[in-house]
């Protein structure tokens, strides 16, 4: 077996000997084919066949199967015959048959040249075609999509295509929605679904996000009014959140916007074998989990300072000048914490403690005086002194040292370390001379 070559998408056909006059006693047939799913459009570029009533003597017949689409003869100017003019002929299917037949004689005055025609494949829009008359129903039970040379059937949400590739069957379980936002609705919405629906939808997004359901459109789920009020006895949409009591929705009133304090929510849509509900439609969106606004820090600040903090936000703590960051009794170089998916900061806020410069270095042959109390803290002031009169302080007796932000005792006159310089040549007692 050799595979058949694909039929051409276009072509040309003309009478024998065209454009010379066609022979007598001719009976010739052309079978035109284009690929499945296409129809043939035949356009005559010229037709000049002996004219006669009902094209009795010479004729060109165009048939689709056994159905005659046209029988032509004559020319553009002849009063007799049947000329196709400029109108193309469209075959219902992908084949077309041309039959050309001539008799034994032609008028002597005029030599007819026959015909010339071009054909091309035209896609059939199967979806817009009328329902087949064989009672088999529409091509597609729900959605028909035309394609070049063919068509596809598809189904509304909540249904899936059967193996016959044209009809749909209800199938609405196991729908998992994990994108940050999306849309979902009951099967066939806004048309009522068949009875006995049990659909389950799961919206599950990344941890650290919460879900909001927004019922924006028409909402209609059959409810039963009892003495205890409206009850969702036979039809309902159940909203279930882990470790929380689920909610059953029904009635004609849209629930509007529902904030779900979770990153996972299950929706169970149930109808029994009676009653009628048009269903529901919702858009869902997600928001980052919030963390508590951090409190103020004494002698420090939190940056950035925002009105709300969300999952993955970072905050930093900086202490005022002269203060150090302490956490758990330990000093740290810097501090930052991130808002976690559970809505908690991953580290507890630190504290800012006043820095100190430590004990001032003892001074050989001198001492130190605390001018601002006995403290080593930031901005404390000390003054060194030397044991006079045997030593004097380098830089002068009035030099003070201040505890600065870099935790160094620093003098006002750039003396790095205080030093006692011995006093020379000045005894405390002098030899006295009274006698002259």
């Amino acid at each position: 077996c050799w595979p058949l070559p694909d039929p051409p998408m276009h072509g040309e056909v003309h009478s024998p000997g065209y454009p010379r006059p066609y022979p007598h006693n001719l009976q010739q047939q052309w079978d035109l084919h284009v690929p499945e799913g296409y129809q043939i459009r035949l356009t005559f570029t010229h037709l000049d066949i002996e004219a006669s009533a009902d094209c009795y003597y010479d004729s060109l017949s165009v048939l689709y199967g056994e159905k005659l689409l046209g029988k032509f003869c004559g020319n553009e100017n002849s009063a007799d015959g049947h000329h196709p003019g400029n109108h193309p002929i469209l075959s219902p299917g992908n084949s077309l048959k041309l039959k050309f037949q001539t008799d034994g004689n032609n008028p002597e005055r005029h030599q007819n040249v026959g015909f010339s025609a071009q054909y091309q494949a035209i896609d059939i829009d199967e979806c817009s075609a009328a329902e087949p008359e064989d009672g088999s129903g529409p091509l597609c039970s729900q959605i028909c999509l035309n394609t070049l040379g063919s068509y596809l059937c598809s189904c509304h949400h909540g249904y899936e295509l059967r193996s016959d590739q044209r009809s749909c069957v209800l199938s609405c379980s196991g729908g998992l929605f994990d994108e940050p936002k999306g849309h979902l609705s009951s099967p066939g919405y806004p048309s009522p679904p068949p009875h006995g629906v049990s659909c389950q939808y799961v919206i599950a997004v990344e941890s650290g996000f919460t879900i909001s359901l927004n019922f924006t459109d028409k909402f209609n789920i059959e409810s039963v009014h009892t003495e205890e009020g409206r009850q969702c006895l036979h039809h309902w949409l159940e909203v279930a959140i882990a470790e929380e009591k689920s909610i059953k929705l029904c009635g004609d009133e849209s629930p509007g916007l529902m904030h779900i304090n979770s990153n996972v929510v299950r929706l169970n849509y149930h109808t029994d074998d009676a009653g009628q509900s048009s269903g529901w439609s919702l858009d869902y969106s997600t928001q980052r989990v919030k963390c508590p606004v951090p409190g103020n820090i004494a002698n420090g600040r939190v940056t950035p300072r925002l009105t709300e903090y969300f999952y993955r936000d970072y905050i930093y703590v900086r202490c005022d000048q002269g203060y150090k960051i302490m956490t758990g009794g330990q000093e740290i170089d810097s501090f930052s914490t991130m808002c976690q998916s559970n809505g908690q900061w991953h580290l507890k806020l630190p504290e800012c403690h006043l820095i100190d410069c430590g004990e001032p270095e003892p001074l050989l042959n001198g001492g130190v005086t605390f001018l601002s109390g006995y403290q080593n803290q930031y901005l404390s002031v000390i003054q060194y002194h030397c044991n006079e009169p045997f030593y004097f302080l380098l830089g002068g007796a009035n030099v003070t040292f201040t505890c600065e932000a870099d935790r160094v005792w620093r003098s006002s006159i750039d003396i790095v370390s205080p030093t006692c310089i011995p006093v020379c040549g000045q005894p405390t007692k002098h030899i006295s001379y009274y006698q002259r």
């Binding site: 000045q426 005894p427 007692k429």
Partner: protein, 248 residues
């Protein structure tokens, strides 16, 4: 010190008593680790004495008191150009002693200043010389245990040199007087530094401060008429002193 007086307590706090192999010498405190003295005090012939033979006493006014409170030097630094094997050349008679531990100064122990920049030795200006050396004349030498002091005027180089010339007439070899020395004393005699004072301070004052103008060095006898004591001119050695201290 001949013709001097007992020094009251704390009046010459830089005075140092050296005991070098049992011989007395003088010195002066110039920093918390440094003593200045005469080179010949630390020499025996051409050799510097071992450090262990040098005892250093400070803050004493009387030798009998607290003699156990002495310290040893950590190093001795004799001027490199001092060459006096036959005791006839006292040029560059200066040495430094480094102490093992720094001294804490108080009223009994204080440093004397080094010569100020551009220090002048003006003839006639009276200085102060002190020591634990002998107090008698050549005929009757008496060892004192008390710190003595004496005020003596500076003598011009010319006068001093002339006195040396007269001395040479009857003596075979007298040390030369160089520019690194100066003289102090009185022509009538009877007041002078003497044996045991060597290395001790001869101080001048400026703006109320005592500075080390000289180091007791040598002389022809002691306290004689027309004779003068010769002192090392410290101002000529300030750079060497600073350099030695910095390098050690």
């Amino acid at each position: 010190i001949i013709g001097g007086s007992d020094a009251p307590d704390d009046t010459i706090p830089w005075q140092v008593l050296l005991s070098v192999s049992g011989d007395r010498g003088g010195g002066m405190v110039i920093a918390d680790r440094w003593i200045m003295t005469a080179a010949h005090v630390l020499m025996r012939g051409s050799q510097v004495v071992p450090s262990s033979t040098v005892r250093i006493y400070m803050g004493l006014n009387e030798v009998t008191e607290n003699l156990s409170a002495y310290v040893f030097p950590s190093s001795l630094h004799v001027h490199p150009e001092y060459h006096n094997p036959r005791h006839t050349d006292f040029n560059n008679d200066i040495a430094l002693i480094k102490l093992q531990d720094p001294i804490t100064f108080h009223s009994s122990i204080m440093p004397v200043c080094l010569p100020p920049e551009g220090a002048e030795y003006e003839t006639g200006v009276i200085g102060l010389v002190s020591g634990f050396g002998t107090t008698g004349t050549i005929n009757k030498r008496i060892l004192t245990n008390k710190l003595k002091y004496l005020n003596l005027p500076l003598v011009s180089q010319q006068t001093c040199s002339a006195s040396m010339t007269s001395l040479r007439r009857g003596t075979s070899e007298i040390p030369n007087l160089t520019d690194n020395m100066f003289c102090a004393g009185i022509p009538e005699g009877g007041k002078d530094s003497c044996q045991g004072d060597s290395g001790g301070p001869f101080t001048l004052t400026e703006n109320g401060r005592f500075w080390a103008a000289g180091i007791v060095s040598w002389g022809a006898n002691c306290g004689m008429k027309d004779r003068y004591g010769v002192y090392t001119r410290v101002a000529n050695y300030v750079n060497w002193i600073k350099k030695t201290m910095q390098e050690n």
